[in-house]
Point group: C2
């Protein structure tokens, strides 16, 4: 321990759960908040605790939510005929921020990956099929990542849409092969979203 406080050493260690935070930046963060922003740190502690305890998954779209139905699903101002399927909540947020899309989402919480035990059931495809059978969705926008597993997932989703008589579209080329939606600049993502193609 490099200071006279055991609590400080524990805080520095705990900060390393954050992605991209090594020993040195964890130390700087701890000293910074203790010396200069205790109010901010107190707020962060509270919100982090609340988020971890209360945020679960929306029963309708599987996205993050602290209520049974998330605020996006509950928003009657959004277009219920458009359903955008993404792999993860972070992809959902990326599409929402970049594209001006005002339909609904469905979050797979993964991608087809039999070796990792991720099959149709784990991805909630039964819930999705049921949603498509409700009849409100006219277009299923498949926004899985352009990776091998993401493409396999897209293929399965297009089958599901076909069975339900729903048109399936895929983000246009423009998304770099092998890339992750989360790291694509807004302009590219918005363009790809706008030029989405019907899946064959």
């Amino acid at each position: 321990m490099s200071t006279g406080s055991a609590l400080l050493a524990e805080l520095i260690e705990a900060l390393r759960c954050l992605p991209g935070v090594g020993a040195k930046s964890a130390q700087r963060m701890a000293f910074h908040v203790l010396e200069r922003d205790r109010a901010g740190a107190r707020r962060l502690a509270e919100r982090l605790g609340a988020a971890v305890e209360r945020i679960g998954n929306c029963r309708r779209c599987r996205g993050f939510s602290e209520t049974e139905i998330c605020s996006l699903c509950a928003n009657s101002g959004r277009d219920a005929s458009l359903l955008c399927v993404v792999e993860s909540p972070v992809d959902q947020a990326a599409v929402e921020v970049a594209t001006g899309f005002r339909g609904h989402y469905f979050v797979l919480l993964g991608r087809l990956s039999p070796l990792d035990g991720l099959g149709p059931r784990e991805l909630g495809l039964d819930l999705l099929a049921e949603r498509l059978r409700e009849g409100e969705v006219k277009e299923l926008i498949v926004a899985t990542n352009p990776t091998v597993e993401g493409e396999a997932t897209a293929h399965l989703l297009s089958q599901l849409a076909r069975e339900a008589g729903v048109r399936a579209t895929r983000l246009a080329h423009g998304v770099p092969l092998g890339g992750e939606l989360e790291f694509i600049d807004r302009g590219t993502l918005a363009h790809a979203f706008g030029s989405r193609q019907t899946l064959t």
Copy 2:
């Protein structure tokens, strides 16, 4: 809000109290811990809350401590004849990690800066003078930063030492001018510490 969770949006905003964390990395951190490390996030929330509520300043050295006397001051195995004066707790930690110093510390919690209202009283120099009068300290190692204000502070500290009949030393050249101790690599800091000079 780019997800269906208000708590998540609040968490992302709160994460920005951490130095070097912008909108994009705050979002990545929030998604990461919620998706992959809730146990780590819970521990961080607890430790951050505890640190903010319980860490104050040691009555003897003014360094961070959750007890009246910090564990470094309370450690009878350290050499009470050596007292190293630093500007901030982060500098104290830097010296402790880099140099193998096994004496005691005194933390100014600032540097002489009349325009900011930081004078001898704010830097705890009355407490330091009292400490020097106790007679145990034989060498006062002045490790203020090599900035204009740090040098002015060093000058005042050497006067204080002279009045108390204690030898004052200063870190050797090797510390880059205008640099901050906190950002100096360990090797340089260890060398400068080892070659410290008697203040004239």
